[in-house]
Symmetry: C2
Subunit: 258 residues, 2 copies
């Protein structure tokens, strides 16, 4: 369908990378891991298409290209997002794994994506735009834990779930990684190069929205992001040297330019 | 979340009824059947919320009440629909059944809902609104097979899938039922009482859209619907007297006033 492929292209693929590394750490076969990685990217692309709609964040540029509703129209964007959410669950249902880990991944993704996870974060974000007072730091952390953290947590723990192992260390890793990622996003919104980022910057400051940078200041925000990277890396201790790529990924999320 | 409960209330519950009857016919325990019935109603409610958006069918009345984007706003409607789709898969993932039938129901629902099923039907419907020539009868059947038929097929066959039985007879029943239902909708749009229907009527004729009624004429459309009801009932032959309630449901879909 129109818009589905368009929205899938050009992303960093960070969530897919987390799934693939998590699967490799637990000895999960490549085919199943690739399906799970594709599923989380489909779900993430759906969330971006809908977030960019005029009634939501109203963005016209994403990943260096026009957003789906600009390239086609709003109906196409709504439907492409809807179909990408279905596709995520279809991919998980068809993974080359026993039924038990497949249904476990479905249940975890449905909870991460839904009214107690990603959609809740997005709803808090939309509500904040018309709230009489800016959000507090705790409220922003709660918002971002839903909006970004829930899918990061699913992706990083997917390999453990596929293998029937304990997902707790990777969930701790993902929680710290997700917050570091979001602080870095707020820093990029202030300091970044829109050409490299592939989306409009400076929007939050222009809208007077509370961000990690507006609440902490630029230096303290960067310092907090660095602490969270260290925390994420520490959570990987049970995996030893095998988790080197996930450690590098944590360093990357605060060093990236897009 | 706002809008989710609102959109779930006041429907006919026809898809839930199909799930419950299909489960009863196959001896599936009540708890699992109720979860599957709730899942299909959540998915159906999501599709109505998004279909009613200004960028789609732009309806302000549904089930006798304001649509979600009228009662709240468009962002709430987009997010409530998104969360209801996630909820459908969450409910299926947590059913009190072995993992194999749960994942089978997830895969079937994802396909029925996605770019090859319901969303495809809705995309064809939106495209028809701006097409230079009205749709042909075959094109309308294809459109409605996606838009309505896919979820009917999932619902009617759910009990067979839960029990590991052959879903083919119930899929044939649902295909005929879905078309009869849609023809009856087109008849209602012309002859119905908006107060009883709980939504605006006469919209298709006003928009010059091709419908079963505009293509066949009112009498031939009613005749074709009656044939399809008989066809649906015939498909239930393998179930004998046990399928009496599903036979009555087929008669109901063309006799209803909403």
């Amino acid at each position: 369908m129109q818009g589905m492929r368009w929205a899938l292209a050009g992303g960093k693929g960070l969530r897919a990378f987390l799934v693939l590394e998590s699967a490799r750490l637990h000895g999960v076969a490549g085919d199943a891991a690739v399906d799970a990685a594709a599923a989380i990217e489909a779900l993430h692309a759906y969330s971006l298409i809908h977030d960019d709609l005029p009634a939501m964040d109203d963005d016209d540029l994403r990943r260096g290209r026009p957003t789906v509703h600009v390239q086609w129209d709003e109906a196409t964007a709504i439907l492409a997002g809807d179909a990408l959410q279905s596709l995520a669950f279809e991919l998980l249902s068809a993974m080359d794994l026993p039924a038990a880990p497949r249904i476990a991944l479905v249940g975890r993704l449905a909870r991460a994506a839904g009214a107690a996870g990603m959609v809740r974060g997005q709803a808090l974000d939309i509500a904040a735009e018309t709230a009489p007072v800016p959000l507090t730091l705790d409220e922003i952390i709660e918002l971002q834990t839903g909006k970004t953290g829930a899918l990061f947590g699913w992706a990083a723990s997917a390999g453990a779930v596929m293998a029937g192992a304990d997902p707790a260390p990777l969930e701790r890793y993902a929680a710290a990684l997700g917050l570091a990622f979001q602080i870095a996003d707020d820093v990029l919104d202030v300091e970044g190069d829109a050409g490299l980022a592939g989306k409009r910057l400076g929007k939050d400051a222009a809208a007077g929205k509370a961000t990690f940078v507006s609440l902490l200041g630029l230096d303290a925000a960067k310092h907090r992001a660095a602490e969270l990277v260290a925390e994420a890396q520490l959570a990987l201790a049970p995996y030893g040297e095998d988790a080197a790529a996930l450690r590098e990924a944590a360093a990357y999320v605060v060093a990236r330019d897009r």
